[in-house]
Assembly symmetry: C2
Homo-oligomer: 362 residues x 2
């Protein structure tokens, strides 16, 4: 595929691109560009780790047989390439960096699933349930190393600052996960909304921001533009997390890939829930009483229990707050983007991606 | 400390340096050079991760109070600096790289302890027993990232190839740990000596080799010299592992920091044990029968049980084999070193370190 075909369709074509269509095209193009690099990189892993990585990426079944693709949406590599394009750089020179960002994302997924004991990812059993905790931890470790090796071997002058930025981002992601684990263990009334927002920014916003910033670096952008791109990705990432949390309570299981009310079943302290708990409404107290920590010994939720909880969260204003706050974060994202990319046409690809991930109806 | 004072004492001073004294001096100097860089780097970690890292390095107690130092011997950073010196480079320019290698080593220790459920490290409770699995996993992840950030921010021309080499080494370390976990789960008679040697080379030899190779890169050495330095470290690393395994069975607890026969108590498939099992002697069958997997439900070992096992391993030739094989690996190491560093005086620092770690009586 020639580089000029990978650009966002401009002019009258843009009219067709309404309603997430454009983002879908950008995502598909990014995957087509980055997937071969990603696969080549994973092929260089030692045998056992390669097998676990190939399973995790959805390329193989546990026994090594080919699998129907269940890979992620490649939002982060798409952000890298879209940011390069927005700043007038050559996206084809940033494919390796985009693959590195996707490797880092997947290293954190492998590790988070071990710590959170999550058993399903992308509609399949998580790696640790198949290969054991050690296998998933080590495959994650190796993916982080692989990401850094790609950058260390990339002759582009931006590779070195990108490597430093990605490494710093990993530390922030880890701090976010430490906070998440700690928050999940506390009593519901011992958790503040601010703490949860800080945690979500570190855990989700940081890597989306980093992806955009890396794209800026590869386009030769200056420090201020790179910082603004980072801010754009962070704010969009927080909007994304808020909507993801809304979907985790009220979303359609066929679209989310999770059971209805899955977050409520495990008493996850997601943002709408914490907002509801902090609302000062009569429902807040009701919710706090319902929302104790549950363990395997509690068995499956009772008939209608999760639906009733969702109603309480909604009545306490958790759903409205999350949606309003997501919109606020999106407007902050747009503001940051305008600082990095003043021309609206150039910013369009990044905006489409941000809108796509915060709608999640596609 | 001025650089010229950090060099190995040459000429007549060298006579004083017999019997590990010289190695002790080199190790102490390396620690004095690398420790400040390491501490500065760890200080840049986010709060929660910093706390875990500071505990792990032995600088702090779990509650944040200052601790009596229990840090490791800094063999790997010492190898980096000694290799730079052996090749005629400037060790003071490689301090950051030496710190990066030490960070990588400690990241793998944090993770290995989680996977192996080891509860003691450097005479203290392991990090996961204090901060939980998630804390130790995330602190390890962050230390790997920190190592790569140090290199990405290092202006030395060798920083980039060193970063690639260290990342490749991490993948090999992970593969070694996958193999180790898998071997420990198999029946004793299902494990071959060759598999164990390959595993030990990946798990222990690879990073010692990488440390020497990184030193070579920072001295501007050519590809062949760097490869020979890597080979030296690998072979010395295997010798070290063989002797470490001998100490794990017959070592003095006051020196090893582990209980007498600790490796036998957990039925570790260490190299002397596997050699004994593969010896074809009558004792091999006896040992196989004794050496089933044990779990917590088996309780502590019976009076005299471990001593009897140690005798069987020794009678089957496991101890002699390990010591002879360690000597063989050391002679291979010396041969590799002579390829990289033909002048014996220049090679002396590296040789002292190799001899020190394979004696372990200091």
């Amino acid at each position: 595929m020639a580089p000029q075909q990978q650009g966002r369709p401009g002019g009258r074509d843009a009219e067709v691109a309404a309603d997430g269509q454009e983002a879908a095209v950008i995502l598909a193009q990014a995957r087509a560009q980055v997937d071969p690099e990603l696969r080549r990189a994973v092929e260089t892993l030692p045998t056992s780790l390669r097998r676990i990585a190939r399973y995790h990426f959805g390329w193989e079944q546990a026994d090594g047989a080919a699998a129907a693709e269940h890979a992620g949406k490649a939002i982060r590599p798409a952000l890298v390439l879209a940011a390069v394009r927005a700043l007038g750089g050559a996206p084809e020179l940033a494919v390796r960096a985009a693959a590195a960002v996707e490797l880092v994302h997947n290293f954190t997924l492998l590790h988070d699933d071990v710590m959170d004991r999550d058993t399903t990812r992308r509609h399949r059993p998580t790696a640790w349930t198949v290969f054991g905790d050690a296998g998933a931890i080590l495959a994650g470790d190796a993916l982080q190393a692989l990401a850094q090796r790609l950058l260390a071997e990339d002759p582009h002058p931006a590779a070195r600052p990108a490597a430093a930025r990605i490494a710093a981002c990993v530390m922030e992601l880890c701090e976010g996960q430490v906070a998440d684990v700690a928050l999940e263990r506390r009593e519901p009334d011992q958790v503040t909304l601010d703490e949860c927002l800080v945690m979500a920014e570190a855990k989700t916003g940081a890597l989306l921001g980093c992806a955009c910033a890396v794209g800026g670096l590869y386009a030769g952008a200056g420090e201020e533009e790179v910082a603004a791109l980072d801010g754009f990705g962070r704010q969009a990432g927080l909007a994304f997390q808020l909507i993801d949390d809304v979907m985790g309570i009220w979303g359609d299981p066929a679209r989310t890939g999770k059971a209805a009310g899955a977050d409520l079943a495990v008493r996850k302290k997601s943002l709408p829930v914490v907002a509801a708990l902090a609302s000062g409404t009569p429902e807040a107290g009701e919710l706090a009483a319902l929302y104790g920590v549950v363990g395997p010994e509690d068995g499956p939720p009772k008939e209608g229990e999760l639906e009733a909880m969702a109603v309480v969260v909604e009545r306490a204003g958790g759903r409205d707050w999350a949606q309003l706050h997501a919109a606020d974060r999106m407007s902050r994202a747009v503001h940051q983007l305008s600082r990095a990319v003043p021309a609206p046409e150039a910013a369009d690809g990044l905006l489409s991606l941000a809108e796509f991930v915060t709608r999640r109806s596609h």
